[in-house]
Point group: D3
């Protein structure tokens, strides 16, 4: 099966690091297609960055051969429900994947993330995913996302120290890494902490394999049905959904856009 791992920020080196993590856990028959968004922010660290990232995400879902499942590789899970509308392949966010995985192996986990402002966003996700009772606390390190990328920084030490506080103060049974850029740190941290440390990229890839393996597709009954056909104007004209054809109410295989227009 083909799983398309989409980095909704535009930093290709981060995509590559995630690809390595994903490939390390992928099952033998799984092809990981890693894509970097071509539009939007170099790093996603707020509501605005997130909202602006959806165009690039949608482009990656629409372009290229269809995948069997899509992974949104940013801990805010930007555009998750919009993405689920435009394909019937499963779409998984790394935040939800990591939290679900943590709930399977511990009765309580803490999230360790980057900036305080993203901490608040993560708390919203905790509530939306019904993880209030499992998530003991979301902790910010005040590390900018791109600093995680740079060699020779204090990032690893800062994160380890925060994880240790989560064990001591929150009595966390597991750690959820709150940024796609932390993917490479899971083993290092798990060695030192001796509790499960969960990277959402790996979790999302494995859960995507699981859903495809079960034959599950995104429900097209309700709010995740294909977008209704309607005109789109201006810069976004090319994003107008073609919608359901005919009266049989059977959705097309994939979300189709009106051809011949461009942004």
């Amino acid at each position: 099966m083909r799983i398309k791992l989409i980095n909704p920020n535009t930093t290709a080196s981060m995509t590559e690091a995630m690809r390595v993590s994903a490939c390390a856990v992928a099952a033998p028959g799984t092809e990981i297609v890693a894509a970097t968004s071509r539009s939007g922010a170099a790093s996603i660290e707020g509501h605005f960055d997130e909202a602006m990232s959806v165009i690039g995400l949608v482009d990656e879902i629409r372009d290229g051969p269809p995948a069997d499942a899509y992974v949104i590789a940013c801990f805010g899970d930007p555009g998750l429900l919009a993405a689920r509308e435009i394909t019937d392949a499963p779409v998984i966010g790394i935040a939800e994947a990591a939290m679900h995985a943590a709930a399977f192996v511990a009765t309580g986990f803490s999230v360790v993330t980057t900036l305080e402002r993203t901490r608040i966003i993560a708390e919203h996700l905790v509530r939306n995913y019904g993880m209030q009772h499992h998530c003991r606390r979301v902790r910010a390190t005040e590390l900018p996302v791109l600093e995680l990328e740079q060699p020779g920084t204090r990032a690893r030490d800062v994160i380890l120290a925060e994880c240790l506080r989560a064990l001591e103060e929150d009595k966390a049974g597991a750690i959820v890494l709150g940024c796609a850029g932390m993917a490479g740190l899971a083993d290092y941290l798990e060695d030192r902490l001796q509790i499960p440390v969960i990277d959402g990229v790996c979790a999302a890839v494995k859960f995507a394999e699981a859903l495809v393996g079960m034959g599950l597709k995104t429900s097209k009954h309700g709010d995740l049905a294909y977008p209704l056909a309607k005109p789109y104007a201006g810069k976004l004209a090319a994003y107008a959904p073609a919608g359901w054809r005919g009266s049989a109410q059977r959705p097309e295989e994939r979300f189709e856009v009106d051809a011949g227009r461009n942004v």
Copy 2:
């Protein structure tokens, strides 16, 4: 004061109807500037339409002279938190405004909206705004948004019938109209139902006046702080935030974009 009322869909006739409603309740010194999004969907009826509407919304906040407050005139409140990041003027969504207003005049209300798929989105808003105990039920009428616009349709009767069911079955003490396109119906319905019927456009305009009158601005401490300065790529390069200048950590008056680039 100047309140900019932004219709995030591209249907100008809907904007005009909302402008009329807004002007009817605006205080003497309030100038209503109504704007129609220049990019995106003709009507917003799902997660995808909503996500795609944020570009047009941001354009309207960035363009023209600054307003004292902004109203997002779509019941899904698309892009609300992103919009709050890029300005320190208050930004109010019509769904949150309507629900807050209803909570002031009734211990329980029901929302009457358009399609089933938007009903589910409205339920998410109810939870996010802490209105679970006040909102008795969200009811769909299966009316498409744009049918509300067309003269001679059954829309008014269908909505009235659903409101009556809300009184009878939900014991609703007030009705929240779940679509910006229903603004013109509030008086008609209130006459027949004899309970408060709340149109979010009016509520948002009045609450915007109230916040400006109190001297309140959007908090710039935490997740609603101005977006961090960083490069944006591709189609969205022009949306890159310039961020805070200098070391004083004092945000610029308004969100500034890097000049000389274009979509």
Copy 3:
């Protein structure tokens, strides 16, 4: 429009301070009628003080010319639902007003209040108003209400220190002042904290203007309907509601009491 601002404690100097705050934000056409309760506690600092304050509150709503809206100017919002029963004019409590205002300008706020015992009462309000996710914490300063009134006290410094802790420890994006007696401190605190500081008296007056401006009245369908006509005995005989006249189920303009009796 006329807004009656009712201080449910009997300390007239506090009423006067609140009147000044209210007038400073009231719109040009708004008349603020400030009234001090004639019965009950000099300050309201507990469940018992609150319960005892309702008689005086009801007296103020019943006496004098009807107002277009009423504000209950005590942070516990005592008698709020009872007051909403006896008039169809909007009635707003300053605690709910302040919390709703804070939710419009920040994703998280902290309340800074007086005594520990009132802190617990404020936590109950947070839950009743659905503000659990917005309210990060309620903080007590152990300042008695009337000490806020006295010149030359440490009150201002103590409150500022607690607000700073709310920023640092709770990561609050806004401060809600948890006592009507703190109204005069909002500007002073906002200057020093550089985040929104919300005084409920101002918020309630502006939201009352907003509701009246929208033409909204308290729902008379359900638990906020006028009290049923019935005899009242003893000291409270004069408080017996006259109820609905005739079969048309149309409530009288205002709650009427049986004449000729007295407490």
Copy 4:
């Protein structure tokens, strides 16, 4: 031990019926002192009636020899926390008692109450008492409270029919009677329904005995501490709490009022 059963409405025949129910379950050594409020409404059917009932309730707690525990015999539990402030004897409301009892014998119960407007109040209690998961539904019969008192009415049949709907539709495992006036119906209903039917008067008396038997008293640490000493004005001058004497912060045995004043 002496348990004072206070009917906060002024209808003495209802008090007598409750006294009979209470005596039927009281333990051998328990003396039931039943008192009818001398001030306020003949029946309590709304927020206003409830708020007005607290004066009469407080009078009954203050008058006569102290009791070992107090029961507030109205399903809205009016004045419960205020009453707990002014005595250190346990105070129990019949609504909370009935719901706690139901939670001990069934995983789900429904409440059957009188008017729709009191139904909403009961829903607030369900939330305040943490019974959302146990309470399947609150059902109104639209019977006025005093009709329960009158011989030869349809009340019994109407209530039985509503209980049967609770079994069928809500799958209730137990019924909580939602009005003090229904006390006499429990046996009749239990015979026909074959599930536990709980009258709050009986439950409150037995739980009061239990708390006294355990030696438990109302906590005086926090919001239930004795009211602070302070002047009360006007009609309520006699209700001013005398507060703590001396510096030892040790509360007096009972709430004391300043002598020589009157309402």
Copy 5:
């Protein structure tokens, strides 16, 4: 009436200490039958110990003359709902009893328990019993259960210190003792803390008396109905429920097991 107090661990000295506590509060006509489980763990300090304790608990309910009510004397309330299925006598767990009692005398309490691992289990109970708003915090002392039994240990001091932290940090109005083995400490702690300290054994006995005195039995409508008749295999063959006899759907007096088989 006869109340059977079942210690689901196998340490007889703990049972005896609980029996003494129970007898000290039991009403004159109450016979306390204390039983120690004959199978399972010497102390219950985890999910596994709890699950394994149910066999011994069921044996005690089935053996000997029927009681009028049963108390499960372990703070985790193991097997509570299973036990309620197999008898129609009330069954009360000491954790739920203690929390309900605390909610009657304080608006907030803290639980002080033994090991960190049992602290987490107690938090689950808090949620299941709807006590999230009443319970301020569950605190672990890291004392093993059986150390509470041993004379001359530091246990009493450690628990007192933790209770003092609960007063200071949690502003607890009452303390719930989170282990059956702490029963004897309630008076000692209450003397020093001057707030209610609640031992679940006493609370459960008194509430059991209360329910029996009200004539309440466990509901047999729904999930607490007698177990359906069906074969049980292997070691547990003797535990097969005989179920309802005949078509009248009237349950037998007590859960019956198929005779002639053994474990």
Copy 6:
């Protein structure tokens, strides 16, 4: 990898049907070891049956070569946390697996289960797993578990009819099959309903593969740590955990029992 699928009831034909379902979705390298409990109920339809099933479940986890993950194949997830204590291999219940899977492909699902009494148990699981917002409703069919096994029954039609009601009334976007015995029906129902129909056995097997593939193990920090070493008495003496050896606080690889004793 080896996944042990444990049917905690004693009906081998049900195990075999589940094994077929599991093998149909298992990845190439996965070995499914299906085991039927040797002790306890032929079908699990209540709290008592569940509690009694844990012995047999524990026996299967302890016996035979260790597996890489365990699946508890009964929709009540009996003994889940106890099982997680005694092994560090992931343990997954089919109810939690099915609900997590449904949350990935739909914003709302309904559960269709067997008897009304198990419906209530499933509602408890929904709350414990944080699925209240995703689960629209749990629906009982009143089919006994073992009737699902019998050829030629109405079971399939009854379940299909209930699923159709879930679509129509609950607006469910997906169906969760609420009994292990329904595993074989998923394809049949999905064909007719055209929405995802999720069988927990398949979901649990795939999620178990995913967790093992990620290298995740059950946290041994907190309440899921290995059981403490202590004596067990009577019939359960052989179940006494051997606990941690030495002072290094490093758990043994697997839960060990004291040898030489028997039930």
